[in-house]
């Protein structure tokens, strides 16, 4: 009997399947297990301090970054290489088993979202839930994303930063 958490926007409840609520420890386990993880960073994470966390986490785990919205610019200004896509574009690619991934090394098996607008991210996660059965989705936002496979809980900033801190470590 699985337990359910109410998503940040409470009406994002979609059906019986719902994300596992995870701690940084479990999230890191997922990353470690993944062969070709990808990090997708949205415009909400393109500001301090989140952008720093995003960069450090990506560096720590060697995650290629896709930026959505206009997040590319902020990363570019920091000298961090990212590949810009619209969130719907990258989701569209991620659901295609034949797509070769951002590094042309094959389709990804884990995608980690942070900083996309909540409801469009929810929609994208829904797409992946339904149409990308082999891809695992993980969200590091401060909002519980019920359409993901695994998500952080709803949190206040302090708690969230603490979670992100932990994500930077082994």
């Amino acid at each position: 009997m699985s337990e359910r958490v109410i998503p940040w926007q409470p009406t994002v409840i979609a059906g019986p399947k719902q994300a596992l609520l995870v701690t940084p420890e479990t999230a890191k386990m997922m990353i470690k297990k993944a062969k070709r993880p990808l990090m997708v960073v949205g415009p909400i994470a393109a500001e301090e301090p989140i952008i720093n966390y995003a960069v450090e986490i990506s560096e720590k785990w060697k995650l290629p970054i896709v930026t959505t919205g206009d997040a590319f610019k902020a990363f570019n200004e920091m000298g961090i290489e990212t590949k810009p896509y619209g969130i719907v574009e990258i989701v569209n690619l991620l659901k295609d088993p034949d797509w070769n991934g951002v590094k042309s090394e094959g389709q990804h098996d884990l995608v980690i979202f942070i900083g996309c607008i909540y409801y469009i991210a929810s929609q994208g996660l829904s797409t992946l839930k339904h149409f990308a059965p082999k891809l695992k989705t993980l969200t590091l936002c401060k909002y519980f994303h019920s359409n993901a496979d695994a998500s952080f809980p709803n949190m206040k900033d302090a708690e969230w930063f603490n979670y992100l801190e932990k994500m930077k470590m082994d």
């Binding site: 996309c116 607008i117 994208g124 797409t127």
Partner: protein, 794 residues
């Protein structure tokens, strides 16, 4: 049975036939195999066309399916289910997660597509029902022989109907045939949503595209009918500027507020007031499209603003009488009006609100019942009676209501705000996660600045969800309204009255520059106000493209949103830019139904500039638009079923649309795949060769996450295979500029759009050549007549 109709004389029309092609007499054609096309319905129509008729007049659902398949093959539907379940029949709910089928066998793709079809049907029905009512009323009043004459400069009056129905309507009465046709199609389309019908998502999408096309027709019928019968501006680029904004309403006068889309009750009010010479005594204003259309009827009416103003304005208590007609009206309007003793009049079958039907009641009696408060409001289906009742009631109650205390005082607000428990649920309930809690907490400390931020540009669009959720029952919208009223001065703007169609002469002027790419694009900002971060984003996008010589078209709530923005010098965009359909023109076509003129203009380009025959020739026209007319729709705040029908409809014509992030909740987009080259092959009709093309336009229906992303995407979506090198340079220049502005670099996909060196904007030449080299770019032939037709053996 064939009914013989005596040829009838028509009011002479002021038109000059450009060539024989446009003669329209005595040609008889068979309507084809369309179900139900025999009998009396044919009587008027089948005698009247003289045009070489294309292959698909009055297409049935399956007749344009092959075109749809082409579009859908390139722009595959992208589904984002908003719910994993289906609850459409009593076998359900069924769980359709990740490949599970429902009890009827449906899978999640088909279910999403069915949902979209249903939404398109609802949206299309809203426009068509509206058109049917308009036409019924106007025909009764002005006669069915009223000629469809849009003035000297417009010969192609009804481009959509011409293409789809295969003939041109000459009179009001002729518009009925189009309605009959579309109503039949609508019933078939809706039927397909039934459990156990269509099983394939692509076929659902083809039906949705058909529903969208029906929506286009419905709108064209509605707007043409009201333009000719009510003498609205006929493509007038100098249509007057009308007042817009909450601050333009004189609160000291009795105020009648019209909400909705149907101009008829509003026109009844205007007529009554004029007849009684009460123009100076009352304010007549409106919200949503009814407002825009009333100003097209009479420019003295005022526009309060788009739908996002609705709850705020009603809460403000300024309106004494609220006249609702149809579509986009808050469904709790009666409850809200009661809070401040405003009187509600319902005026159509669409919105009856449980009110007593007093259509046949004596006016004096209605007025007296309303004044005494015997009834909560009234349903009055006769617009003249609405005019009289609304006016008399407003004049009677205004004074008393003036003494009502309608909103809390500022210090009361501060006290209330202190009640906030900081539970945060207002933020979670907000569609946009706006920081209402922070605003309340600050207000509790006497700091209203955060409320003011929410108020401006309708960043909070007063949907009321936070209020519904608040565990302390704080009247958050009333608090917002009061603070806004008090601190945000000068809510006085303007909007150019809706001009209706684009003139043929304008098309002649801009057709070539558009098709060849010299005008970088036509961008249409339409739709509602479900904006992620307020209306300023839309105005800024419009401004950005106006400055860059694009033609900017707008309508409906979008047109109002654009009007609510002023530059540093205090000027609105309507004051800064002309209403010409030309580079740097800001063209307000009118209300939502006027949207028909936007694909209409593209169709006219195909006809006037390229001499493509229209009648019954859907596929060729759509193919032309897709490959050559650099138009892009933007529905940044699209919320309703009409919006999805509109977008889907213009998509079928080959026009791409960019939605705001909430658009992802429509459940389906049409996305192209630039990484799959085979998807972009085109047939060069000139050479008959199938050649590889570029991803232009790259997507057909796209949802962007924020304004910055959208702006760049819009510029890109104006690129067309047919651009000349000069045109392509221009388009790429804007694309690169904007990409650099918002992303800081030259776009990484630029090589896809450079066919030959001459396509490269001079100023970026060096950088781009380098990029091209890195990508192993090779020049390729520019197709002369790029097309998707006659491929795969059609």
């Amino acid at each position: 049975m064939v009914i013989i109709v005596a040829p009838k004389s028509r009011a002479p029309k002021q038109k000059i036939f450009k060539d024989d092609f446009w003669k329209t007499k005595d040609f008889k054609f068979s309507i084809g195999d369309i179900t139900g096309k025999t009998g009396q319905k044919e009587s008027r129509i089948s005698e009247e066309s003289s045009l070489p008729l294309g292959p698909t007049p009055k297409p049935n659902i399956t007749d344009l399916r092959s075109w749809d398949m082409k579009l859908l093959n390139r722009y595959e539907p992208f589904y984002a289910p908003l719910c994993d379940m289906c609850c459409l029949c009593t076998y359900g709910k069924c769980d359709l997660t990740a490949g599970k089928k429902g009890a009827c066998g449906i899978n999640i793709q088909a279910q999403q597509a069915r949902n979209v079809l249903l939404a398109c049907c609802i949206g299309s029905a809203a426009h068509s029902g509206h058109a049917r009512h308009l036409l019924g009323y106007l025909t009764k009043k002005y006669g069915e022989d009223l000629p469809i004459n849009l003035g000297m400069n417009i010969d192609i009056e009804a481009p959509i109907m011409r293409v789809v129905l295969g003939k041109k309507p000459e009179t009001l009465g002729d518009l009925k045939e189009a309605l009959d046709y579309l109503e039949e199609q609508m019933v078939h389309l809706l039927s397909a949503c039934h459990t156990g019908q269509e099983g394939n998502n692509i076929d659902f999408e083809s039906k949705a595209l058909h529903a969208g096309l029906m929506d286009n027709i419905g709108k064209e019928i509605g707007d043409i009918a009201q333009i000719v019968a009510l003498n609205m501006p006929k493509g007038d680029e100098d249509a007057p500027l009308v007042e817009l904004g909450m601050g333009t309403i004189d609160r000291n006068k009795p105020v009648i507020l019209c909400i909705g889309h149907n101009v008829i009750p509003g026109s009844g009010i205007i007529d009554y007031i004029e007849n009684e010479e009460l123009e100076d005594e009352l304010e007549v204003c409106g919200i949503c499209c009814a407002a825009l259309d009333i100003t097209r009827y009479n420019k003295s009416a005022k526009v309060v603003g788009p739908i996002s103003k609705q709850l705020k304005f009603v809460r403000s208590g300024v309106a004494d009488v609220i006249v609702v007609d149809e579509q986009c009206v808050r469904t709790d309007i009666l409850e809200e009006a009661k809070k401040n003793n405003a009187v509600v009049l319902a005026t159509t079958d669409k919105i009856c609100l449980g009110l007593p039907d007093l259509t046949k009641e004596d006016t004096d009696k209605i007025v007296s019942q309303l004044l005494k408060g015997d009834i909560e409001g009234a349903l009055i289906l006769d617009p003249d009676k609405v005019g009289e009742v609304a006016t008399r009631v407003a004049m009677n109650i205004a004074e008393d209501r003036g003494n009502l205390k309608i909103l809390p005082d500022l210090d009361e607000i501060t006290e209330m705000a202190k009640e906030c428990t900081e539970c945060g649920w207002c933020v979670r309930a907000c569609p946009n996660s706006q920081q209402m809690m922070d605003a309340v907490v600050a207000a509790g400390k006497g700091d209203y600045s955060k409320f003011i931020e929410l108020y401006k540009y309708d960043v909070c669009y007063s949907c009321g969800r936070c209020e519904q959720e608040c565990e302390r029952d704080l009247p958050l919208i009333s608090m917002l309204t009061k603070i806004g009223e008090h601190y945000v001065k000068d809510e006085k703007y303007n909007v150019r009255a809706g001009r209706g169609p684009i003139q043929d002469i304008e098309i002649r002027r801009v057709g070539a520059p558009i098709v060849l790419g010299d005008i970088p694009g036509v961008i249409a900002f339409v739709g509602c106000t479900n904006y992620p971060e307020g209306g300023e984003d839309v105005a800024k996008m419009a401004e950005e493209f106006l400055e860059r010589n694009y033609i900017v078209v707008t309508s409906g709530c979008g047109a109002m949103t654009i009007g609510e923005y002023r530059d540093e010098e205090g000027k609105t965009l309507y004051e800064r830019y002309s209403g010409d359909f030309d580079a740097k023109g800001l063209v307000n076509v009118g209300s939502c139904v006027s949207n028909a003129h936007i694909p209409g203009a593209c169709i006219k380009i195909a006809n006037i500039f390229a001499k493509k025959p229209l009648e019954g020739n859907f596929e060729e026209i759509a193919d032309y638009i897709l490959n050559r007319v650099g138009a892009c729709g933007v529905a940044w705040g699209a919320y309703s079923q009409k919006a999805v029908a509109i977008a889907t409809g213009v998509n079928r014509w080959g026009i791409p649309v960019v939605l705001g992030p909430h658009g992802s909740k429509y459940r389906r987009l049409f996305l192209g795949r630039t990484d799959k080259e085979e998807k972009w092959e085109i047939n060069d009709l000139r050479s008959g060769e199938v050649v590889s093309g570029e991803p232009a336009p790259e997507h057909l229906l796209y949802a962007a996450e924020n304004r910055e992303e959208a702006t760049v995407m819009i510029a890109k979506l104006c690129i067309r295979p047919n651009d000349t090198s000069k045109g392509r340079q221009l388009k790429l220049n804007h694309y690169i500029d904007l990409h650099r502005k918002y992303f800081g670099v030259i776009p990484d996909d630029i090589h896809k759009f450079v066919r030959v060196e001459k396509d490269i904007p001079i100023i970026y030449k060096r950088d781009i050549m380098e990029i091209l080299k890195g990508k192993g770019w090779e020049p390729r032939k520019i197709p002369q007549e790029p097309s998707l037709m006659k491929m795969d053996g059609d």
